[in-house]
Amino acid sequence: MASSQLARRAARRLLSSQHRRHCAAPACPWLLGSAPPVLAPSPVAAAAAGDRRGFCSVRRFTGESNAAAAVEEAENGLVAGGDQQAIDFPGGKVSFVAEMNFLPESQRERINCYRVLDDDGRTISGSRFQEVSKELALKMYSEMVTLQVMDTIFFEAQRQGRISFYLTSHGEEAINIASAAALTIDDIVLPQYREPGVLLWRGFTLQEFANQCFGNKLDYGKGRQMPIHYGSNRLNYFTVSSPIATQLPHAVGAAYSLKMDKKDACAITYFGDGGTSEGDFHAALNFAAVMEAPVIFFCRNNGWAISTPTSEQFRSDGAVIRGQAYGMRSIRVDGNDALAVYSAVHTAREMAIKEGRPILVEALTYRVGHHSTSDDSTKYRPVDEIEHWRTARDPISRYRKWVQGNGWWCDEDESELRNNVRQELLKAIQVAERMPKPPLAELFTDVYDEVPSNLREQERLLRDTIKKHPADYPADVHI
């Protein structure tokens, strides 16, 4: 099915299933190529007018009751008809009711989850999804395998003491690769740290990954950050920062810029279930909705924030339900189903850009690996739970069944691919390991755009110390 059809259909379903709440100031779809939306004056003015009207009506409602007042009230937005009473309040008409009803803490049933492939890799009958060509399908598959092999080998390299730290994306390969495949290179990625597959998809080479993990002189981050803190301006992938959820408000700002520049692109930001607790998450979702920014919030709900299970993280129905509270479309998707992730992000991207709106995607998945090489997750979660997700719910084998079922893949292809990736990565590691670290001068650059006098003085003093005590300092940093 063509992507535009999917997007239209998704939007129609949305429209028919919910009332238009913004009758006072209807949300103008932001159309590509149209004049830039005049954001500030219209909604703000409408809200201000609504405010005056609303509060005026409230006063009358509680005070006067004569006919003249009733007429005026109708004009002012207070509607009285039969037993029904309502008020035009900023945001739309609100009905008054006689019963005192508290909203329940949750819906009766949990939000359902979009899926295309069943556990055996067969498409579910009636499932609607974005078609992928054989070429695209195979590229997705090989990148998922590449990510898995890369994670396994880097993890081993850390265990051997060759790199100082690592963090795998095991179990989340479909999320990484399929979401990346649904984007274009012009879309801006603001990652957390468990999405190296997005960068892989964009063309970051295994050598480039290795350079960063070893912090050598070819690392774009100049060896300053821990392993896995990748970034590439060329590939529109903002550099990873360890603090949680700080990138979410950045994504809204970046998306707003894309919209102002009338780019056919959106921003996408990734985060975990734990990240939804941070203040930055709430700030970002609210800003995005109000600013009508074309940004996709991609939540990898993998069940665990280091040792904290989602039951101790939130009591809402996951992350997906939060979207509506902020006035944002959202979808829950099976994160271990590559086709579902691909289709959902593809459609979300289309809606975000064409309609100028944020979209929240919650992918249900599982962090199969430890949080990082500093963690032993068997201390706080059952091994059979990990094993179940690692085997029975593995996203790569499920997708492989579908690819292989189409006759596009065979066991020989599989072993050749895995072997090639392994060889290429081992070579990349050897090269990265032998490469010197960035020169000492880079310790002082980039703190500001130019090196100020205090840092120039500190560099001079440091060089004096190094001359006196060369043995104190690593030999692989060029002085």
Partner: protein, 280 residues
């Protein structure tokens, strides 16, 4: 009883800072002068030497055991914490008093302020000092001023925030920082036990005797707590100083992974500064 447990905590924490200097090798601890003084004062007993995490763990056991209104919480503290400092607490004292919080530092600090304001001992963990900044507003504008702004109608004196800081060898930007100076600049915060108030008199007595002072910390030199120590001692001991107060501190750069050795106030930097001071 509460006072007793607090004394125990202080003791453990002060002793802990001393121990930390032992196992962190040549990494100079923050405000080494002040910390060393604290160690000297309380470390005189013939106790068994323990490392910092054990000391903290024991202190938390004591606090929870002696004060029924004490609570320990933070990210991942339930299973023992990522540094194992809360090991055994949840099993012994139950999940109502020792618990994981959602991943939200401002929430942890704000919750702790409210809990403490109700007369409880709230012991909150921020997993790394590098991650304390989302809680900065709650700590600086709320916790620190809670008593003063209410004319002592309310206070959150039962609040303790605990957070590991400093270089570990492979922490890079976000697992290495020493943010103590930010908090020392905030009237009302007392929990930086060895720094506010720092033991001026003991340092002054030492400088009066030797005429020399060297201050060292991992945090960047500019605006660091070392500057405060240097200024105070210059005020008090100007006539007796035989050399300028030396500072051997971190560089004015973000904490850099592969350059950690270059950034740090390492032993030979300290030794050179000592020699320069002695030979001044």
């Amino acid at each position: 009883m509460a006072a007793k447990s607090l004394r125990e905590i202080r003791r453990a924490a002060a002793a802990g800072i001393g121990s930390r200097r032992c196992f962190s090798g040549d990494a100079a601890a923050a405000a080494a002068a002040a910390a060393g003084v604290a160690e000297g004062k309380v470390g005189g007993g013939a106790g068994k030497e323990v490392n910092l995490f054990t000391a903290i763990n024991q202190a938390l056991h004591i606090a929870l055991d002696t004060d029924p209104r004490s609570y320990v919480f933070g990210e991942d503290v339930g299973f023992g914490g990522v540094f194992r400092c809360t090991t055994g607490l949840a099993d012994r004292f139950g999940r109502n008093r020792v618990f994981n919080t959602p991943l939200c530092e401002q929430g942890i600090a704000g919750f702790a302020v409210g809990l403490a304001a109700m007369g409880n001992r709230a012991i909150a963990e921020i997993q790394f000092a590098d991650y304390i900044f989302p809680a900065f507003d709650q700590i600086v504008n709320e916790a620190a001023k809670f008593r003063y702004r209410s004319g002592n109608e309310f206070n959150c004196g039962g609040l303790t925030i605990r957070s590991p800081y400093g270089a570990v060898g492979h922490g890079g930007h976000y697992h290495s920082q020493s943010p103590e100076a930010f908090f020392c600049h905030v009237p009302g915060l007392k929990h930086l036990r060895t720094l506010i108030p720092w033991d001026k008199e003991t340092v002054e007595a030492s400088v009066s005797k030797t005429g020399k002072l060297l201050v060292s910390h991992e945090a960047p030199i500019t605006g660091g707590f070392g500057a405060e120590i240097a200024a105070s001692i210059t005020e008090r001991c100007f006539q007796r100083l035989e050399a300028p107060v030396a500072r051997v501190c971190g560089l004015d750069t973000p904490f850099p992974l592969v350059y950690e050795t270059f950034y740090m106030p390492t032993k030979n930097k300290v030794l050179d500064a000592i020699k320069a001071t002695v030979n001044y």
